[in-house]
Subunit: 215 residues, 6 copies
């Protein structure tokens, strides 16, 4: 617990006076512990060796290392976070949304096929899919709340990207996992009709092992 | 075009003076035409017979009639919209998200089985599914950006709900449609791996007719 | 009220880790108790039988049943609430404002004469009154902070409406009650001059019984 | 009014490049004309002799000189405005609300009796009236959307205050004027019941001359 | 500690019920103690004799008396604060920024030479300096985050201004103090290169006594 | 620059209908041209080869390549941008602020000595300087509006960082340039007193060539 008591909330950097900090219960904002501004230090805004090394990729061939308010408490209220994403050859960061953030991404190594789907359009239009092949140094934007993915089309080489998100706590919803791998499961009656398949297809899907790609 | 020129933006109700309104190009905010506040009238905040009648349900057995800033331009900047949802017997409003809004819903007629899935949790936890059976007068909340659905479990009777959303332009993303019915299609390589199925299952899914439930 | 301690704040659904939740003092956001996200359940987003039944109307002939963050703690930070309003024959929801919300309303039964008054305009203009008679299924918008009312003009039949507000805690200020029924009373010198009446008219007004229509 | 076309929007101070500014239609944000940042000058953030002189007070004995985005276009999007308020002996700034702003006030000369009324409380509580007598240099806060007033209790000396508001376009709703002096009038049936008086009292009130105190 | 426990947070004025206020640990929002709304009183929105008297000016000839959420806890979440600034003859409020607020200022006495510098422009443009001489009653705006100052050019007479800021906790960063007077000092290698001067010039600057003008 | 006229504003992705898009004047939000959502394409969210190559550093030894709403118009309203920063050996990104954004930074190559200065503290405290040496993969946060810098302490090797900012238009104010290199210059009387130096020191500073590091 020692380190938790050293967290600071920047929003109150100027506001907290000592009589407030002497209360026996720690002061919290958004559920996070704050700190007397005169006691804050650089470690409250720092995470060592966070994004330098490739991580082992998961079963769909990716790994997301997100540095958000859980890793750097000084981010509280500041509306930003950063991530490194590793992609195995032919690996993907599967279709997902961030319920509270837009994402901007740049490729550090390799090639990525990326895309997002717009929200529903008036009939007879369908949800529009916008995609692009990105090379090193290219930048792409995934607007808040829209379903998007990245895929490494190269069968031999890994890829690496840096992504930034417009929230200190963006959240992530991997579509396949949330729909077919939730605990408890969503009724297969509902899903069979929604996805226009037989119930046993849904049952098969729900029986897979759903590993969360990132949170 | 006559009606469009009569739209008002409430945010500037007090601010616009005549020399500004006399410009030959209409004033717009968020892309919508504004109106001199002295010329605004009650029709700019009104939609007749919007939500009283059952509508024909779609192939999954529901119909969403959303009254947003497209129907009532006076809603611009005001952060709210309202909808009536009709459900056929065994009909559903299939799993979807609103990228820019929380939804609160109450049942007017019939019974609904509703639920939402939380965002990804740290392993070994899975996305949590929270559900409830709602009867007439019950109220339920679907937090912003989370995947949710409503299903009418009654094989004989329709159901009706009123829902409100915390945006004048909430958007909707029907998951199955956005993932399998986009234009153009998402690569079946990507989707097969994401959903842990064979590519021909994806191809079959993509070959279905995907009708947008609502926008 | 034991269940109140199990309320959850959705904004931290992804953020709270166990060492934070084990603190002996409950975590609060906006003054409300939060909950470990793995312990949240559907009841935190649900209110049973909230809006199905007519309620006894007050002395001006209406009853507002508001479901806000006090009734459903999961609404915290989510910016929306919902209400059922019952109107006796010739009853009204008297002129009031919501200091923190826009309202959108639809009629479920009966007829309503509704209106709002714009804020002050440059002289010689006066505050503009915009009104409309609403029938079943009509939708009307009351912009944030403006004085508005609903009146059931039918001497024989009740009316019912569903309203949604763009805040989880919109507040309500019934004009007559706040001006003439406050505790303690506002000086009758001030009010007599403001309303251009004799002081004994003010005194008579202040002597009435002011029942709060809703909060 | 040539100078109106030279107004700048600060929010885009860094963003507009010349190819955007060369469009024949002026660029607007919130309905106000913007300006190429390289052409902006100090006059766009300045109003001369705005608040130095006493102004003639109105029939309730006050005058509000508000400097908002209409007077200084550079205020657009910046969320603040300032006002000088003059009070005749026994004059008042009558009960009013600002639908989009909190107000903070300090007395420059004389004495003021000020107060605000909280929003509706759960029964049996009534709207609470909080008041204070202010002398030179005292500071008081009127929270957003709440009904408040200032009254000069001195029968011989005027008073002066400076007030600031948390919006570049706060709006003002003088309660008596909006309720009894709107154009057109609110139905006296509605108002008689809301204010618990006879209709002829309402008619008498509506027949007064309602001069807008400020906008 | 008695007075601290009587602070109120307005945002929850309508929301807190007694079972919440009876918890043994005080409820806080933004790190400030809240109060049961039925126990709030006018003192929570009031500061006596805050801005009436000239204060002793500091070594650069000014004094800022800021009334923010630290002085009036009822300001919490309301987004505004107010200040009196005294200027000795030839005194200045030196170049500084407010990281979280726009400032609007009016002159009460004397004359002020004021200005702000825009943010960086595309080359070959330089940061633009906008300035103005203000007399009594003039109003000027300093946009959020931009470097600005006020200077009293009169060698014989003091000056006084009232300023309002668009945050209950605007913060202030006096440029010279933050750059040359921080604790610990910034490396003189870094500053010498940034300011294009010899290191001994930086060392001399850092050796001065840096008194904080205001916070 | 023809493609610039085809930029889209995502915020209205769902809202614009064709009759609005057919107006002869383009629709703008925040001063930027919007686009019919059915005509939007991936290029509106993409910038090729934006951040892959080292750029020539400026006279203080750095180069900031910022991808904001000027480079990718689809970023409008989405609240994020990204930058690559190159540092020559012993080069620095000199002390500066972002008036509208927090920055989060990770090192791609080399070593950086970074720091920021807190805002003014109550006497006798001084502005606190928090600093850290960052190696490859470390992450550091510079809170919104605070003065910060990065310096490459290695005399032989360059360094590279990726930074993200919590605004699509964060702005930058290089302190030395804004204070000493503005156009026109700030009065040396004012600056001499503020910085506690002789006027000829200020004159010498103002005579330097001030090249904008980034905008």
């Amino acid at each position: 617990m020692a380190s938790s008591s050293s967290f600071l909330l920047l929003a109150v950097l100027l506001a907290l006076v000592s009589w407030q900090a002497t209360a026996s219960d720690p002061i919290r904002v958004n559920g996070f512990v704050c700190k007397n501004p005169m006691e804050v230090n650089a470690d409250n805004f720092f995470k060592a060796a966070a994004l330098d090394k490739p991580r082992v990729t998961n079963k769909v061939g990716s790994n997301v290392t997100l540095i958000n308010v859980m890793q750097i408490a000084g981010l509280n209220t500041l509306g930003i976070s950063i991530a490194r994403i590793d992609y195995a050859p032919l690996g993907q960061n599967p279709p997902h949304t961030h319920p509270r953030a837009t994402e901007i991404l740049t490729v550090l190594e390799g090639t990525l096929y990326v895309g997002f789907v717009t929200s529903n359009q008036p009939a007879p239009n369908r949800n529009k899919f916008l995609s692009k092949v990105l090379n090193k140094g290219d930048v792409f934007v995934f607007p808040a709340g829209l379903i998007h993915f990245q895929f490494n089309p190269n069968p031999h080489k890994p890829a690496v990207a840096i992504a930034a998100l417009s929230s200190q706590n963006p959240g992530a919803i991997t579509i396949a996992n949330a729909v077919f791998g939730s605990d408890p499961q969503i009724s297969d009656d509902v899903l069979a009709k929604a996805f226009q398949v037989e119930k046993n297809t849904i049952d098969w899907l729900q029986a897979q092992f759903w590993e969360n790609n990132h949170n």
